[in-house]
């Protein structure tokens, strides 16, 4: 008979160490998969995890991909820490990009220092509004936020589809499903000539610092922490539960909206159908790999960004489909959950016969 028991005291150090175990297991698991597929695992893993960041350009690409992941995951950590399961960050990202992109398109033939801030604020507000929908439905109509926020992802993607093929499509674009190019004043400044890394990374870093401050140093952060651990206690303490749900969803939506606007004003420069390779969903993995800790999330976003890059490199050099990136992301989450389980629970194998004797 197998018996599963909760461990009484889990050392904090080990709690932050298990993500590393998960990453190592993911790499080993990846090696095995490559071996089964008939590739030299060492070589394949090298293409996956070393080659992409072996030059400056690669490193800039890593930061470029980590930026939206980090931003979204920071926002999600507010929701997850307080037991609100917002899994529609991809939708909030898309809607933020639509609103921000709409403002950028208004100014497509104008220049001015004020344009970019307007676009960024519009994007954040867009994401915030879109996240408020599941939050309001949850607080006032008792709906399940998981379903609502997930379904809204498809709503926003279809809306974006409609806009780029319909009313917002580029009049000189030969019917391609895309809008006009934004003017230079709507674009994120590049940090280095020739590299795609842009000023959006500062938004992500600012979000990290701010979220650390809010979560650990303010009354709001305290309420989020208590609600996450015990809703009964939060109710007993008299925290305003509904307001808090609205606030964490707004923070989360704003971060996702910022990530969306960072993509379209950064590397993309216009609106089209494929503005995000599911950053909003992948960021859920990032948030948990980073232990919902702001600084952990920085590290996790870099690791997960590498799986995006590695997949592209492996596709070019080894003709492995780039969707293996998702396999790696899935494995990270799987191994993380598995090692967490073993961290919090002991598995005991009891000898049935002996057990019977004792009674």
């Amino acid at each position: 008979m197998i018996k599963i028991e909760k461990r009484n005291d889990v050392p904090m150090a080990l709690y932050f160490f298990t993500p590393f175990i998960a990453i190592i297991l993911t790499i080993l698991g990846g090696g095995i998969i490559f071996y089964i597929l008939g590739f030299n695992p060492i070589e394949a893993l090298k293409f996956y995890f070393i080659t992409p960041i072996s030059n400056l350009y690669g490193f800039s690409e890593l930061l470029l991909k980590a930026t939206p992941l980090c931003l979204i995951a920071i926002g999600l950590s507010f929701c997850f820490k307080s037991n609100n399961w917002n899994i529609g960050a991809e939708g909030q990202l898309t809607f933020g990009a639509i609103v921000g992109g709409g403002v950028a398109l208004l100014f497509y033939n104008q220049e001015g220092f004020y344009i970019l801030p307007l676009v960024i604020i519009a994007g954040a507000i867009g994401g915030m509004i879109f996240a408020l929908i599941p939050a309001i439905l949850k607080t006032y109509f008792n709906t399940n936020e998981i379903l609502v926020s997930l379904m809204l992802v498809y709503v926003s993607k279809l809306l974006l589809d409609y806009l780029v093929v319909g009313p917002w499509s580029n009049p000189e674009g030969f019917n391609f499903p895309e809008t006009r190019q934004f003017s230079d004043s709507s674009r994120m400044p590049l940090l280095f000539e020739g590299l795609r890394i842009h000023a959006g990374i500062f938004l992500a870093l600012a979000a990290v610092m701010l979220s650390w401050f809010i979560l650990y140093k303010t009354y709001l952060g305290f309420q989020i922490k208590v609600s996450g651990l015990s809703l009964k206690t939060a109710k007993y303490a008299g925290f305003k539960g509904k307001t808090m749900i609205l606030v964490v969803f707004m923070i989360s939506g704003a971060c996702a909206g910022l990530a969306g606007v960072g993509e379209i004003t950064g590397p993309i420069g216009q609106l089209h159908r494929m503005i995000s390779p599911d950053y909003g969903f992948t960021a859920i993995i990032v948030a948990f790999l980073g232990r919902l800790n702001p600084f952990g999330i920085i590290f996790a976003s870099l690791v997960v960004a590498l799986t995006y890059l590695g997949a592209e490199t492996a596709q070019i050099f080894l003709q492995i489909p780039k969707y293996t990136g998702q396999v790696f992301q899935g494995m990270i989450l799987f191994f993380l959950l598995a090692s967490d389980y073993l961290l919090f629970f002991k598995v005991k194998i009891l000898n049935l016969k002996k057990n019977e004797l004792r009674h």
């Binding site: 140093k217 952060g221 305290f222 922490k225 651990l229 009964k232 206690t233 008299g238």
Partner: protein, 499 residues
């Protein structure tokens, strides 16, 4: 064939409490047996032993002189002991038939035939193909009973079966139980409701503090005699001098408190009215599950009920949440100290910050003032003699008594005018209980008021100035505690009436 179930010298000891102390009982088929007792009397432990959920430390169970080894619920099933628990074990989204077929050993066709036979025989009307969530509590209970009947049980144990039933459903249940009994099934009926014992059962065993204190024929018993046996002759009061509270102001007054819930496991409250004077302790007695949970949450502001009036220090506070009520100097100590009054994963000082009243300055301009909280926590730890001075300790490492001291300390350090506590001493050792009782008496001596909701009659008689009993969501009249005898209390708690 006649069934004979014998329990011989069963003992079960939990740390700090003897749940079953050398219990011996004998049951024979053809009769309905009642097992009667207060909360914590040991009924549930005994039943869990009979159904194989827990193993006794000592003692044996014989069924028709065969020594049973009950080391899992499966063993109980094999030996034809069926059990209907108070809380149903059904999958709400599956149909009735699917629920019944889960642990069946035959094919669906013959199972359906057998179920229909049972339905017909006992006049149960249940649609087998609707999801269980559409059924009423009484129908769900019938599904559980059918599940037992399918295994043609020799013994059927019913644990507080009427707590979720309407009057009508209760009557139907009694008729069915009598039929089962006539067919030779041995029925053990666990309850704390005295009237049910008298109307349904043939023999009654009363348990108190883990021991069987009496076994008798119900025809020789009355509500009063059973109540007396159930509650016991409690010790004379050690209470502080009774407050001469004739001319004092009413500090807290509740009018028209009504609560209606759709959840069958919650109790509706019907028109509760009471008041508390300065320096007075109002005790609310009752067997758990008669509405105490709901009452506590309404008094603390966790549940807001419309049309209720709660006046505290001349202000209407019925619409305020717990935090706002604290500002008016109320304090609350809920029953669930482990997962509601405190969060085990939080450090002591973080748990202290849960009582964030305005003058505490724990959070200034929205920021955490950690230094202030820690200073305050240190003071609580020393003033209320919690056996640690480390405010960084996670509260999960405190013993029950120390955790309760911390919680009471947190609630009392604001010098509240009214403390509402619910079972403040459950599960604590004698030392901690004494400390908490002394603390509660001290509050009254300082002219502050308390409302003590408790299932422990001894505690209530010791601490209260006046006592009322809550039964099925209704409050009895409020009696000065010098007029209250354990016997009266027992009658009221069991649903009887006095005078």
């Amino acid at each position: 064939m006649a069934t004979d179930l014998r329990i011989s010298n069963i003992s079960k000891i939990y740390p700090g409490c003897i749940a079953n102390d050398n219990v011996s009982l004998q049951f024979k088929s053809g009769k309905i047996y009642a097992l009667l007792g207060e909360n914590g009397a040991g009924k549930s432990t005994l039943v869990k032993i009979l159904s194989g959920v827990i193993s006794p430390d000592n003692g044996e169970v014989f069924l028709n002189e065969k020594n049973l080894k009950l080391s899992s619920p499966l063993d109980a099933k094999k030996n034809k002991i069926g059990m209907v628990f108070q809380h149903f074990n059904l999958f709400e989204t599956l149909s009735v038939f699917e629920n019944l077929s889960i642990d069946a050993t035959e094919d669906n066709k013959s199972l359906r035939v057998r179920i229909n036979e049972i339905l017909k025989k006992y006049n149960f009307s249940i649609d087998l193909d609707v999801p269980v969530l559409n059924l009423s509590a009484g129908q769900k209970q019938k599904v559980e009973i059918i599940r037992c009947l399918l295994r043609s049980p020799k013994v059927l144990i019913m644990d507080e079966p009427t707590s979720v039933l309407t009057e009508q459903e209760t009557e139907e249940l009694f008729i069915s139980l009598k039929k089962f009994c006539d067919e030779g099934i041995l029925i053990i009926y666990i309850t704390h409701k005295l009237k049910e014992v008298l109307s349904l059962c043939d023999e009654v065993a009363v348990m108190r503090k883990g021991k069987v204190v009496s076994v008798s024929q119900t025809q020789n018993e009355r509500v009063e005699t059973l109540a007396n046996k159930m509650v016991g002759q409690k010790l004379a009061k050690i209470k502080k001098k009774i407050n001469v509270s004739k001319n004092k102001d009413e500090i807290f007054k509740v009018k028209h408190l009504n609560f209606y819930s759709d959840d069958p496991f919650e109790t509706n409250l019907v028109n509760l009215n009471f008041s508390v004077k300065k320096g007075e302790c109002l005790g609310i007695a009752g067997i758990s599950g008669n509405g105490q949970n709901e009452l506590f949450q309404i008094l603390s502001g966790e549940i807001i009920t419309p049309d209720t009036s709660i006046i505290f220090r001349n202000k209407e506070i019925a619409k305020l949440n717990p935090k706002q009520r604290r500002e008016y100097l109320m304090a609350f100590s809920p029953e669930d100290r482990i997962s509601q009054a405190a969060v085990p994963e939080l450090k002591i000082y973080e748990n202290v910050a849960l009582n964030n009243f305005k003058s505490s300055n724990f959070f200034e301009k929205g920021l955490v003032n950690e230094k202030k909280i820690k200073e305050h926590s240190k003071k609580i730890l020393s003033d209320f003699s919690v056996n640690t001075d480390n405010v960084e300790l996670k509260s999960q490492f405190l013993s029950g008594g120390n955790l309760q001291k911390l919680i009471l300390g947190r609630e009392l350090i604001t010098a509240p005018e009214l403390l509402i506590c619910y079972n403040p001493t459950w599960g604590l050792d004698v030392g901690a209980i004494n400390y908490i009782h002394e603390t509660l008496i001290k509050i009254n001596d300082q002219e502050k008021s308390t409302i003590l909701i408790s299932t422990d009659t001894e505690e209530l008689l010791k601490l209260s100035d006046k006592i009322a009993v809550i039964y099925k969501g209704k409050l009895s009249k409020i009696m000065p505690s010098e007029e209250v005898t354990p016997e009266k209390l027992g009658v009221l708690m069991g649903g009887g009436s006095i005078d």
